[in-house]
Amino acid sequence: MAEALTRRSALGRLGAGVAVAVGALRNPAPAGAQGSSPAFGLQESVQDGLKRVFGGRPIKDGAAMIKLDIPPIAENGAVVPVNVEVTAPMTPASYVKSIWIVADKNRIPMVVKATLTPESGQAFVGVNIRLGETTDVRAVVEQSDGTLLMAKREVKVTVGGCGG
């Protein structure tokens, strides 16, 4: 009986090992920076992150077009709802291609990248993010013609929610 049990648990462990290996294969990211894509999930400063993702492309002020809806004071940094809405047409000819949410002082500043299609109908995304400390939160919008727009707002964080 005991023998059967050990064999079973050994098999189970083997199976788990295979699952982990498959997961590792699907995400061939360098150790310590296991992001979803190479442009993501790195521990860096916000300037480095913006430079890495957008290169030297100019980022225009988009405060008039981008509505950044975040609570000004987040009591719990572990859950901060961020809603971004862009008043821009969503037609196949001209649409908002992607929206990045960037938290300046997080160790991983490039928090979320949302990719949209003309079928979205409206450039709107909302995500709950973590904030480590009081920081500026930016939304960077890339339009289908490559124009970059940015808006930012400060969020005061009472209790940080970012271990990393």
Binding site: A19, V20, V22, G23, A24, R26, N27, A31, G32, Q34, G35, S36, S37, F40, G41, Q43, A78, V79, V80, P81, N83, M90, A103, N106, R107, I108, P109, M110, V111, V112, K113, A114, T115, L116, T117, E119, S120, G121, Q122, A123, F124, V125, G126, V127, N128, I129, R130, G161, C162, G163, G164
Partner: protein, 110 residues
């Protein structure tokens, strides 16, 4: 923990053809954050967090999210879509441990 991958999707019930509707979805997931040892060095292991969320409507993608560990535990997402015909809204989550979770909601017209 057995709740990992449980998905809730909310679509408006009073949509009409041509409307832009907003969909909210939530997944139960730990979204493990980076751990550090006493020296402040990062513990190197395969953290379990969701890297990609794909939302489709009538089989066509409407929004794709790429996530990092800076996203909250049990993450919630909202996105918009242009309602043309009643049909399924499907959201797929993929995490770093190879887990794949799917949820569907039917968008019905009032």
């Amino acid at each position: 923990m057995s709740d990992i991958g449980k998905i809730r999707i909310r679509v408006p019930s009073n949509a009409k053809a041509g409307d832009v509707v907003r969909v909210r979805c939530l997944v139960i997931h730990p979204m493990e954050r980076v751990e550090r040892d006493a020296q402040g060095k990062i513990v190197d292991r395969n953290y379990n967090y969701i890297t990609r969320v794909t939302a489709t409507y009538l089989g066509k993608p409407v929004a794709v999210f790429d996530l990092t560990q800076s996203v909250s535990e049990n993450p919630a997402f909202s996105f918009a879509l242009k309602a043309t015909t009643p049909g399924p809204v499907k959201v797929t989550f993929v995490d770093t441990h190879g887990g794949k979770y799917e949820g569907t909601a039917e968008l019905a017209f009032a």
